[in-house]
Subunit: 301 residues, 2 copies
């Protein structure tokens, strides 16, 4: 059983001088891509449309969906320089001495993407009313940002979500989410991970957030698959989220019958899955169980 | 010959409500990945070490390499919320009305990565002195940010660089860059693109920047390959940069003989290459010349 310190020491993750931000070695990436490919194979019956988005989002969209009510502490906003040559010179002079230079930076119209599904909703909305049965979207493997600086590599500030989205009639969306919960458990078991499944809640901010979390649990809007590893509490490596009409109302997405659509998304935390595999099977990837290696690389979809 | 508006209309790029930020369709991504794979094949003789970094960087590193002297106008800095529940409530209230809420955001220790090679230098420096011959690093396909909002899809704010880096003795580094210039021209020709090669300069900021640009040209530190497409000036789609000791001095990277190393990097602009192919060969990718399709997808490395 490999420890996280050992994984970093082996060069599988490359420290970058700031907490929760790592480079990835070729071996780490090969495992991560293997996991992503397995999710693609699982998604085939849905015949999803693939869309890929960069890790930045229009700020207005974050404002419109109420992210700053639920997760103000996790959001990253993008600022840039405004000024002329004297201000640029002063900014550079202070930056060169590693002193404060934030006063020269102004908020832009961009923020970092906090969940890989967020750009999907306005893109689907822009096409007009859905057809019967709605849409399945594969948002690929995308970098997302959460402002949670931490020394534990299982909690990164920037990591890949392997994300899928379903938008349509409520019963279609709920059935899809439940199907994927089972697919997800089977996938992670097949990789030799000891996982458990349960109702979960998001890390909502503040006192009001505790109420939101309790309500989310009571209504079973979020399921998570957590991995059991020695020396740590079960840690979520996949989540399955039913949004009801949260996103569809914000962007006015309607079903074929004209009702506001419902949506659900699911995300596999790719780096957490790779780290779990390294902890479960050891840092010598070439010595992992043959069945796991076969699943990751040798099965042709 | 397809126009850029036609490419967006065909859904190959997906508008996101903010200039220079697009989603990519499955077809767009398949071409982009084909281009990236061709660069990997070209890189095989270098036997590069693969490293992948997320699109955020320690702010201190941007300060240390003088980026804010040369390109203050292009940098993106990351801010996040600091405050308690009252401040969060006021921030959310203003954001919900799409009013100003920047005062609740504070500069973090992170910035957006402006060039895919930047995280490589401190990672190599951390390993200590180089061996004879130095190192070749493949930084993969990485998203980078430039604060240049523009309606022209050929100028995105967030795009993929396919980047390689060489660090070592000056003559090794210069020979590598020259070799890649020829490889790059051959690659882009083989995709049916009409390209030209020349000495170039970076878009340095301000009056001082004009002097830096003139010096860069005079010393032939930057080469670019530009594509010739109807209706637009030649547009750079790859660049080949000799940094001399710029990065190695900042991070104290030394050769086997103890001298400060030199470095060079090269980057292919993946989205610009895909857009160039769509403009040159048409938006119906299945009707592209067989030789181009073969190069992109059917050759096994």
């Amino acid at each position: 059983m490999a420890g996280l310190a050992e994984i970093v020491e082996a060069g599988l993750l490359i420290p970058t001088g700031t907490r929760g931000v790592y480079g990835r070695s070729a071996a780490f990436e090969d495992v991560r891509r293997g996991v992503a490919r397995l999710v693609s194979t699982l998604a085939e019956p849905d015949r999803p449309e693939r869309m890929s988005f960069p890790p930045v989002l229009a700020r207005r969209q974050l404002e419109s969906i109420g992210y700053l009510k639920s997760f103000p502490h996790l959001a990253g906003t993008i600022f840039s320089f405004e000024g002329g040559e004297p201000e640029a010179a002063e900014q550079e002079s202070r930056a060169g001495r590693h002193e404060e230079w934030s006063e020269f930076q102004r908020m832009t119209d961009l923020v970092l993407v906090p969940a890989a599904c967020y750009p999907v909703y306005p893109a689907v909305a822009a096409r007009g009313q859905l057809s019967t049965g709605g849409v399945a979207i594969d948002a690929g493997s995308a970098y997302v940002f959460r402002r949670e600086p931490d020394d534990d590599p299982m909690r990164m500030q920037m990591f890949h979500q392997r994300e899928l989205v379903r938008i349509g009639e409520p019963e279609t969306v709920v059935a899809w989410r439940n199907e994927w919960r089972d697919r997800g458990i089977a996938l992670l078991h097949s990789l030799g991970l000891d996982v458990e499944y349960g109702v979960a809640s998001d890390p909502f901010f503040g006192r009001g957030g505790r109420m939101l979390a309790a309500e989310q649990r009571e209504r079973e809007l979020k399921f998570e698959i957590a991995v059991r590893l020695p020396g740590r509490a079960p840690t979520a490596i996949a989540s399955f989220n039913y949004h009801e009409d949260h996103f569809s109302s914000a962007f006015d997405i309607r079903t074929a019958s004209g009702d506001t659509a419902h949506s659900a998304c699911l995300g596999f935390g790719e780096e957490r899955i790779v780290l779990s595999l390294l902890q479960a099977h050891g840092i010598e990837i070439e010595r992992w169980p043959a069945a796991v290696r076969h699943r990751l690389w040798e099965e042709t979809p």
